[in-house]
């Protein structure tokens, strides 16, 4: 496997000497800046991240020491028209995800139509019967979606994974941009880059738009499991930039089906909670009784329509990998159109024919657990050892319904700073899509993850991945810097 033959987003198919014409300025910048200087700036950015405490914990490692995610100084760039068509695809996909959740916890029309096997929903732990029949305020389920995309050519984008639970990583989008503005200001003179710093404002608007009732001044809070959580920095950063309270479960009480927060000024009614706690831990009366992180009565308040939870509990059924393979049908069913952003071809191992194909082609395929994430429980055929393939084969035969398989894609690369200078490294991309009662917004930017090891296709931070800033270039003809895209539902 490797990098040879992959599409490079800056250099195209031609290599460093013939960059894509739109990006010649970046090549000039690279040529005019010494490798030492680039390394120095990169170290300076990482030192700042460490000081801020932007760290993550690697799960499955014995020393649970928190690390910072490596930062790469060379940005990734999207042309204005590339971004416009990507945004349209993202808006469509997120609208379909919301419609699917509304349907699956309500009328279940899509099952009546026979488009998805019912056992895939009802035998799936991600379908939460505890919240069935609840309609969230304003009918919005997935307020914040992180849609993971990969690219294989100039116009070839694919959705690799939907994240409709509590997608993380947006603080990297914002902090990476801060660092780039500070360390490489000259790049922002070369390129007209759409700003991302309006994300907290857009998020707060989204939260306020889904407050129950017609409260003109709803109380919004961010609920964190606490400072020991690996994403605590992001929780506090977002609360801080939105100018709202960061609370823990102990700060909230539910009384008479209404949520209150204890403040220095007394008890204040809470309307909207951006919770960064998994469903399992939200309310010990409904989910795990041993949860110390949750708020007893929270689901009762939610069921009564007195509080909005962002994102809605039960969303895991929409980003489940077994459901993923049905997303083209889901998009068509709810939007009446073909999906603008295609899926990666996916074999459902639960079905006999695809399983046979997968077992016959394991060395070429990527095999994933339907309920795994973060790169865990995954086989990357082309780089796996014979033993790993044999072990996976046994696991697949024992429990085929737990797996899906996909071809190994020639993921696009972006020039990345390595010791000797620049070299192509594979990337993926997670843009963030906000859905409020007033429409869907795509912030022009996102989190680019880069596989720092040569030839590696695994970009997860827990598996040796890093991040880059993602520039979305403004339309040259646009008179002003538009900050976000709005589209009505």
């Amino acid at each position: 496997m490797g990098t040879s033959g992959a599409f490079d987003e800056i250099w195209g198919f031609g290599g460093p000497d013939s960059p894509r014409p739109e990006f010649q300025a970046l090549s000039r910048w690279v040529a005019n800046t010494s490798t030492e200087e680039l390394h120095q700036r990169q170290q300076s950015a990482e030192a700042a991240f460490r000081q801020l405490g932007i760290t993550f914990a690697v799960y499955g490692e014995n020393d649970a020491a928190e690390r910072i995610i490596p930062f790469d100084i060379v940005p990734r760039l999207f042309l204005h028209q590339e971004w416009t068509s990507l945004s349209e695809g993202l808006v469509q996909r997120v609208q379909a995800i919301n419609a699917f959740l509304e349907d699956i916890y309500g009328e279940r029309r899509i099952l009546a139509e026979g488009l998805i096997p019912p056992e895939l929903i009802f035998r799936n732990d991600q379908f939460r019967p505890e919240v069935a029949g609840i309609r969230p305020p304003h009918g919005i389920w997935a307020h914040i979606c992180g849609i993971d995309l990969v690219r294989t050519g100039p116009d070839q984008f694919f959705v690799l994974e939907d994240n409709a639970r509590t997608p993380s990583g947006v603080s990297y989008m914002l902090e990476n941009r801060e660092a780039m503005l500070r360390l490489c200001p000259e790049l922002f003179r070369e390129f007209r880059v759409a700003p991302v710093d309006s994300y907290p404002d857009r998020l707060l608007e989204t939260m306020r738009s889904v407050a129950p009732g017609n409260n003109p001044d709803p109380m919004c809070v961010v609920l964190t499991p606490g400072h020991f959580n690996s994403a605590y920095y992001e929780h506090s950063f977002l609360a801080d930039s939105m100018g709202i309270e960061l609370v823990e479960a102990a700060d909230l009480v539910v009384d008479d089906d209404i949520v209150w927060v204890q403040t220095v000024g007394g008890r204040v009614r809470v309307d909207v909670i951006y919770r960064r706690i998994d469903d399992d831990f939200l309310d010990p009366l409904i989910f795990r009784p041993d949860s110390m992180l949750g708020v007893p009565g929270l689901i009762a308040a939610y069921r009564a329509g007195n509080v909005a939870l962002i994102n809605a509990p039960g969303n895991g059924i929409a980003d489940d990998k077994a459901i993923y393979s049905y997303m083209p049908e889901i998009v068509r069913f709810y939007t009446g159109q073909d999906a603008k952003l295609p899926n990666v071809e996916t074999w459902r191992c639960r079905e006999p024919q695809p399983l046979k194909y997968v077992l016959d082609h394991l060395p070429e395929l990527v095999v994933k657990l339907v309920d795994g994430s973060g790169g865990y429980g995954m086989l990357v055929g082309p780089t796996a050892s014979k033993q790993e393939i044999a072990d996976f084969r046994a696991a697949l035969i024992a429990e085929p319904h737990r797996y899906i398989a996909q071809p190994t894609l020639a993921l696009s690369t972006v020039p990345t700073l390595v010791e000797q200078g620049l070299a192509p490294r594979h990337v993926d991309f997670r843009p963030f899509v906000l859905t409020g009662s007033d429409g869907v917004r795509v912030v022009p930017g996102g989190l680019t993850r880069v596989a720092l090891r040569e030839g590696s296709l695994v970009v997860n931070s827990s598996q040796g991945g890093g991040t880059k800033d993602s520039f979305v270039l403004l339309d040259d003809r646009a008179p002003t810097q538009s900050q976000s895209q709005r589209q009505g539902l």
Binding site: F122, R123, F127, D255, P284
Partner: protein
């Protein structure tokens, strides 16, 4: 049959509690063969009660009380009219499809020994209904004395190995075994009329048979529920149908005393 229920759940705390939030599944619903004539849930302290229906179709009451609370008594009284339907449930609220009840939970995971016992007990069964009857009898024969007792959080697999079980445990074993045979099954908590005072609500199971619907099985008694039974709540396991789930804020220990009378009233209504 006309059944009167009088059910006290008294919690006493070794130190006063600041706050109590409880979720009560203590209100039965109507079916074709079960009509709630009157029903009341009351509390002996200043508390806010809020009624709702949960995702499984159970009537749920949220109870919010502020301290200091040294004790709290949740009192249920009511009367229900029942008729015998050979265990078949007709016209119950069913918001979720039977398929959902093939899921395993921590407390209904079959473990290593139960599936073998289940398949041995039902070998030669003519059809799913016969399978379930055989399972019901086999569990009763294995655990002839399975009293109603307070929940200790035991799983079906652990109780099966321990060889000692309450009505709750055998109901969970029945569920785990039925699911291992690919038959949807669920937990029922409710009341069974008896002349003696009881220390906990009764527990049994329901299994879904294609063409017939949900059918009750009481493996603790080796019987099919008849007109002496009042269904109150259903769930995937005992925890999901618990009569009272609660959290409290405060130090000290808690003691629960249950005083339960389920009596057959004279005459028909």
């Amino acid at each position: 049959m006309r059944i009167a229920i009088d059910h006290h759940s008294r919690y006493r705390f070794s130190k006063p509690q600041d706050r109590i939030v409880q979720m009560l599944r203590l209100t039965p619903g109507d079916t074709r063969d079960q009509t709630v004539v009157n029903w009341m849930v009351s509390v002996d302290c200043d508390a806010r009660l809020r009624d709702a229906t949960d995702g499984f179709g159970n009537a749920v009451t949220m109870l919010y009380a502020d301290g200091p609370l040294a004790a709290i008594d949740v009192h249920v009284t009511g009367e229900v009219l029942t008729t015998d339907a050979d265990g078949v449930i007709h016209e119950a609220a069913e918001p979720l499809p039977a398929l959902l009840y093939l899921r395993t939970t921590a407390r209904t995971a079959p473990g290593t020994d139960l599936p073998g016992f289940a398949s041995d007990s039902v070998s030669g069964a003519r059809d799913p209904l016969d399978t379930l009857h055989r399972l019901n009898c086999a569990l009763h024969a294995r655990f002839p004395c399975a009293p109603d007792a307070p929940d200790t959080g035991t799983s079906a697999a652990a109780a099966f190995v321990a060889g000692k079980a309450t009505s709750r445990d055998v109901a969970q074993m029945f569920i785990a075994a039925a699911r291992s045979l690919q038959i949807p099954a669920r937990y029922v908590s409710g009341y069974r009329s008896d002349s003696v005072a009881q220390s906990a609500p009764h527990a049994w199971a329901e299994a879904h048979v294609y063409g017939l619907g949900w059918i009750g099985f009481d493996p603790a008694a080796g019987l099919i529920p008849d007109e002496r039974y009042v269904r109150v709540a259903i769930g995937l396991d005992a925890a999901g149908a618990a009569a009272i789930a609660g959290t409290r804020i405060g130090y000290g220990l808690e003691q629960l005393d249950v005083d339960l009378h389920v009596e057959q009233m004279p005459g028909d209504a």
